[in-house]
């Protein structure tokens, strides 16, 4: 079960959970948590990103996910308990993960 008090998907709690924009008014659920997004593309991006990180790391849950950058490239720091991993991610304009590179610690 991923939803719960330990499930924090964004350190930036203002604006869209992916890009930080305060335009738009789209609410979507990620792993049981209701979040604000500027549009449905950002919602889909986060959904796909969470799947990709879990697939890449083998983690069953992610406790924290910090996303910084722009659509030219987003640095994502994911934490699960004591473990952490960083990725450089880009999305295509349909919301699919386009590049996904694990960054060295």
């Amino acid at each position: 079960m991923l939803a719960g008090k330990n499930w924090i998907l964004k350190t930036n709690f203002q604006g869209c959970a992916v890009c930080g924009s305060t335009w738009g008014n789209y609410w979507g659920e990620i792993e049981g948590e209701r979040m604000f997004f500027c549009c449905k593309i950002c919602h889909l991006e986060l959904h796909n990103l969470v799947l990709k990180i879990k697939q890449s790391t083998g983690w069953e849950k992610i406790d924290e996910l910090n996303i910084e950058g722009s659509y030219a490239g987003r640095n994502c720091l994911a934490r699960a308990g004591e473990k952490s991993a960083s990725f450089l991610v880009t999305f295509d304009s349909l919301g699919e993960v386009q590049t996904f590179n694990k960054l060295p610690k």
Partner: protein
Amino acid sequence: MTKCSACSSKFPRGDYAPLATHYYIQSEQSDPAHVMWLNRFVTNQKMSQQDLERALHRLFDLKDKPVSDWMRKKFVERFFGVRPHPFVLALQHPSKRTLLGYVIEHQHFLRQWVRSCSYIMAKTDKTDATLYELDNINTEFGGFGPDKLSHYELLLRMGESLGMDRQEILSTTPLPDTEKAIDGWDDIAKKSHWVETMAAMHGLELIADRTLVDSGATLHYFEPSILDKSNNEVTEATKNFLREGYEADAGHSKEALDLVDKYSAEYSLAEDVQATFLSSIDLFYSYLMARLARGEKLDLED
């Protein structure tokens, strides 16, 4: 008239209040195209309709200069500014991956290029515009015989020099963002005034325009020294392809943008040109990202 960059809805010229209201309503409905446009070209922080109207006025203000000056400025901001486009950074000293991503996606771009330029010729009755497009299509696609190959042929030869078979290049379908960009440019060419299409397509040739450094660009499309005879970073066929663009695009974009200035003034189309140009460079941004993504997907030994 002016128009919305995201959906082409028409609005009265010079009055940004209705355009601001339009963006505001679309944003409240979380429409991705409008929200992303606001994020990328205005700000990602929501503002009042009145403030948005003022921001749009500032964005489109030509400051009594030709529209091409504004286009150059916007292009530099987008691709060569504080955060240059990742593909431009990768092309400074390109890897095989970067160049093959370029080859595979760009063949599709060049095919659309010919279609877009043909639409311009089909729609215009201006001789200088027709002659310009004829020359451009031959330079990019047709070529001028074995001594002056087309940009398209030079691209394919670059791919072959990097070990990829021509048939493999030609049979590879475009990535979704390349396809989306091509559809977008096709749509512009079909539906917009030919002057807007000229701005949308030939404005993109600014990417290799060496003179952009005079407009504030912090770097060139690629590091010019990789073309040096003594430099072995890239293959000779790669040098031939990059040199062609490097030598042609400054002249190409200047000549086309002079025509855009001339005819956008004659037809009072400057605001439409601005809106369409922003749509085009947004498509181009995603398309350049697709070139990088294609390179990443290739099964190559690093």
